[in-house]
């Protein structure tokens, strides 16, 4: 269910931007959903399509980029790429990881006609 609320935020950002630009139609929406982001991309896009269906962004194509996870390993003393939230350091197997990237959820841009 929290995907539905996130979708409402996405569509609000998209529609506000399109309206301010005087656009008639939004054809594409580009999202960045980090590899560790607390969201299910599939469910989010499904909800976006539902929420947007009566507005200027109805029928828009969604593109999703998945920025990689990055964490500082206090054991290896460098940035590593954990496989998932709660996963160990891929190099040393330790769990002293400080997540630095990969949790973001952003609307990057939209294409309008």
């Amino acid at each position: 269910m929290h995907e539905l609320m996130l979708a409402e935020s996405v569509v609000r950002l998209v529609e506000d931007t399109a309206r301010q630009a005087g656009a008639k139609r939004v054809t594409r929406v580009r999202l960045a959903l980090g590899a560790l982001a607390h969201v299910d991309p599939d469910a989010l896009l499904y909800c976006c399509e539902l929420v947007a269906r009566d507005g200027v962004a109805a029928g828009a194509v969604y593109e999703v980029d998945r920025p990689a996870a990055e964490a500082w390993c206090a054991n290896c003393l460098r940035i590593v790429v954990p496989a998932a939230a709660g996963a160990s350091c891929p190099d040393c197997g330790g769990f002293e990881l400080d997540i630095r990237a990969g949790e973001e959820m952003r609307v990057i841009d939209i294409a309008v006609a």
Binding site: V61, D65, G86, A111
Partner: protein
């Protein structure tokens, strides 16, 4: 998508294998295709389309509301906690007992979140502490807008006092509430010993978002196979250094530690 709560299923696996091709790795379907990395070159201007940059956090609206709540709480020196757990971990019992033992130290108020019923707020009010019940209907988490409304209600009742404790009991759900900042000082995750000790690994987002874990119902440990040390180790896998307090509403163990933690937080609030 689950039609009951709307949970997504795009990353569902059965025995570790994808339950079905997800839209992101299957052939492109109408309305959705995977794309190149962020720095991929775009070729705008090939048709009448224009690209408008937005670059905004999807949670920006909630986060802005949460920031306003946090600022208001700081002005009043209120120490606010967002209590999160599975349904049935004993959040409300923990709150009732906390308020009973906290009585006389400083004023307190409670915001209760549930899909339905005002039962929990009534249990809190029976202790003499003011409480507001938020019913989310089908919603699975509290958000900052709901909490702002509840704070308004407490204010109207004259129940939001300076230098007080504000305890927010989130909807019982170890998934969705992790993403939503309510303006609290800390999320406190409660794990009861009647649950599986590997819950922190099963629901890492929530335990990673927490600043304290309470291991509750510890009086039941002699009757269970629950390995408390293993549970704590797993919580610290997802959240290195996570402080843990073990307690039960049925005995005195851990209570001095929990009340001291609350007292120290209240002393820092507004500073």
């Amino acid at each position: 998508m689950c039609t009951t709560c709307g949970c997504g299923h795009g990353q569902v696996t059965i025995n570790g294998r994808a339950a079905r091709p997800t839209r992101s790795d299957a052939a492109p379907r109408a309305g959705y295709r995977a794309v190149a990395p962020l720095d991929a070159v775009h070729a705008p201007g090939l048709d009448a389309e224009r690209t408008l940059r937005i670059e905004q956090n999807i949670l920006a609206d909630n986060d802005a509301r949460a920031a306003r709540i946090r600022a208001q709480l700081k002005t009043q020196g209120i120490f606010a906690l967002n209590l999160v757990s599975s349904p049935g971990s004993g959040k409300t019992s923990l709150l009732v007992e906390t308020l009973r033992r906290w009585a006389g130290r400083a004023p307190a108020a409670v915001i209760e979140g549930d899909q339905q019923t005002a039962n929990d707020a009534e249990r809190i009010r029976a202790t003499g502490v003011p409480a507001v019940q938020i019913n989310t209907g089908k919603g699975c988490h509290l958000d900052a807008r709901m909490v702002a409304q509840a704070l308004g209600q407490l204010q109207e009742e004259g129940a939001l006092l300076d230098r007080s404790l504000l305890l927010i009991e989130n909807v019982g759900n170890l998934v969705c509430p992790a993403a939503f900042d309510l303006g609290e000082a800390h999320k406190v995750a409660i794990l009861s010993v009647t649950e599986g000790e590997d819950k922190p690994l099963k629901y890492p987002d929530m335990f990673r978002a927490a600043d304290l874990m309470i291991l509750s119902k510890t009086d039941l440990l002699p009757y269970l196979d629950f390995d408390a040390e293993a549970a704590i180790a797993m919580a610290r896998q997802v959240r290195p250094g996570l402080p843990v307090i073990r307690l039960s509403t049925r005995d005195d163990a851990g209570w001095a530690q929990w009340l001291d933690w609350l007292g120290a937080g209240l002393a820092r609030a507004g500073a």
